[in-house]
Amino acid sequence: MKLIIAAIKPFKLEEVREALTSIGVRGMMVTEIKGFGAQSGHTEIYRGAEYAVNFVPKVKLEIVVSDGMVEQVVTTIARTAKTDKIGDGKIFVLDVESALRVRTGETNEDAI
């Protein structure tokens, strides 16, 4: 099993979710985050006080899938989240040691 972490632009979330559910992904976790990569921040001014805002709002998706699905999921996310402008995000893949479904007690591949 693999954990896929993807940081995408917030307005792309709905599109990505739809695309993933249509290829069979049955669960995901979404967090609102702030971050930066190549996209630099901007300046905000409040009554003459200037603040350099280095972090841009993003959305983080965390999805655990079986090894066989990984490539398809990564490609789908990359395709739907892309806007060809800087700040589109990144996708990482990590190993998952085990998984458990709380309601039934199923483990590993049966849990995802």
């Binding site: 905000e44 001014i45 009554r47 003459g48 006080a49 603040y51």
Partner: protein, 509 residues
């Protein structure tokens, strides 16, 4: 001229109230001919008058009082609250609300008395304790307005002025937001209203009233004509038994000096003594909710109609003038700040717009019943630009952490407004003119306007206020600092005052 002598007689009774209410607010008869007045002195009888209370005036003052209360809670509380970081929102709301409650109690106990009673030997500077716990006042007690014969219940006046006493210290907290200990703040506020606010209110606004002045002036003329020097001296003393700044001829309709310069300078002193916030210049201290700030600013503008127009103590043409000025100056200042910021900083911000609006309100406060609407509008525009430049450039030059711009808006705006009052009161500029209650006792005349005299009176008043409040506040801040400590510890400042000082969060989301 002849028919004015009827006023100095029994005909002054009864119909006086109705007669004066029906007259235009500023009698336009020519200035008194002193020779004729002296000739009339032989025919003078002591000035008598009836105190007439009008339901319309009482209803208006009740409304105005409630409007000013709305300005502080929730107006000011939200205005300031939205400007601080999330972790300090609750502490800002609590500080403002608590100050209202505490000062209201003090006002009843001794505040009203110190501000608005005769202070005996100290009367030029502060009142006495004759009305502590509102002794001697009941629902039938009446106090004078600015029109001969027109009176309002003393309770109406006490309540209205109480809201002023409550909002003034609440304004100060913005200057050292996010870093003061709650307990120390309350102790400071109690000391500050006692030694600074009540005396200031007394010095600027304590006077005998139109009928009292008319009565004493008539007695003075009678005594002089009869060669009674003792009587003349007594009458002259009574005529002069007003607050210090009142006697200087300083004009302050609704509290430019008493409220805004007062709070502004105290705030400036406080933020300098307390030092800059941890992380100033590095951490983001952006407002957490400009939505709240906008709600607060809107409530301030709406409530301010009560603040300015209610300061007329009755409902007449001057009340309407104050309403007009509270529109024109405010709009002018909002527009001016917005466009100045748009031009010089690139974008028109909401915070800039509402800040400009508040500057206009502050600047017009001392002038609200004296300036004409167009003059007020230009005052607002001028103050809007001046305060924008201060807040956007000068403040940073000095690295002054006046967190919520209490000096930049209230202090500087108040100073500009107070000085401008001396210029805009000129009838030639549309102003209402300087009131004169003694040249034709029993009526309100427009005194001759002399720029030098009028403007210098304002300069002296502003100068005195700045020095008195600056030095006085510094002493009180230092006193509290040495005994209790003013500032919270650094860890608490970093964590946020809400949890550390109050055990609560503004938002549990």
């Amino acid at each position: 001229m002849r028919n004015l002598t009827k006023i100095f007689g029994l005909s002054a009774m009864g119909g006086a109230g109705a007669m004066f209410a029906a007259m235009p607010a500023w009698a336009q008869e020519a200035a008194t001919d002193t020779a004729a007045a002296a000739a009339d002195a032989a025919a003078l009888v002591p000035y008598v008058y009836e105190k007439v209370m009008d339901k319309g005036d009482v209803a208006w003052m009740t409304t105005a009082t409630v409007l000013v209360m709305l300005m502080t809670i929730p107006g000011l509380a939200l205005f300031y609250g939205g400007l601080v970081r999330t972790k300090n929102m609750l502490s800002m709301l609590t500080q403002v609300f608590a100050i209202v409650a505490v000062v209201a109690v003090i006002w009843i106990v001794y505040g009203y008395s110190l501000a608005f009673s005769d202070g005996g030997a100290w009367n030029s500077y502060v009142g006495g304790f004759s009305k502590a716990f509102l002794a001697g006042v009941d629902y039938n007690s009446l106090v004078a307005t600015f029109t001969n014969g027109v009176y309002i219940p003393e309770y109406s006046f006490i309540a209205f002025q109480m809201t002023f006493a409550c909002i003034t210290p609440a304004l100060i907290v913005g200057a050292f937001a996010e870093r003061i200990k709650f307990g120390s703040l309350l102790v400071f506020v109690i000391l500050w209203v006692t030694f600074i606010y009540f005396p200031m209110a007394h010095m600027v606004w304590w006077w005998g009233g139109p009928d009292f002045l008319a009565e004493q002036q008539t007695l003075l003329l009678i005594a002089e004509a009869a060669g009674d020097t003792a009587g003349a001296e007594a009458a002259a003393a009574a005529l002069g038994a007003n607050g210090l700044l009142w006697n200087w001829g300083a004009l302050d309709f609704a509290g430019g000096t008493v409220v805004h310069i007062n709070a502004g300078v105290a705030g400036l002193v406080g933020c300098i003594i307390m030092g800059r916030r941890v992380g100033y210049g590095k951490d983001s201290m952006a407002p957490h909710s400009l939505t709240m700030t906008m709600i607060g600013a809107a409530l301030l503008w709406v409530g301010w109609f009560g603040f300015n127009a209610g300061s007329n103590l009755e409902s007449n043409g001057i009340t309407a003038l104050a309403i007009m000025n509270t529109f024109t100056a405010t709009a002018g200042a909002g527009v001016a700040w917005m466009f100045a910021e748009w031009l010089l900083k690139g974008k028109p911000s909401l915070l800039g717009l509402v800040s400009g609006v508040v500057v206009g309100l502050v600047a017009v406060t001392p002038a609200s019943g004296f300036a004409g609407p167009v003059g007020a509008m230009f005052l607002g525009m001028f103050a809007g630009v001046a305060c924008f430049l201060f807040v956007a450039y000068v403040k940073n030059m000095f690295k002054l952490d006046d967190s919520l711009d209490v000096f930049g808006i209230h202090g500087l705006g108040g100073i500009i407004g107070a000085l401008a009052t001396g210029i805009l009161v000129n009838p030639a500029l549309g102003g209402a003119g300087i009131p004169d209650y003694t040249s034709v006792p029993g009526t309100l005349q427009v005194a001759e306007y002399a720029f030098g005299k009028a403007f210098m009176a304002q300069v002296w008043a502003v100068g005195f206020t700045v020095v008195f409040v600056g030095v006085g506040s510094a002493i009180l801040f230092k006193l509290v600092d040495w005994t209790l400590g003013l500032r919270v510890k650094e860890e608490i400042e970093r964590e946020g005052l809400d949890v550390a000082e109050h055990g609560e969060r503004a938002y549990n989301m």
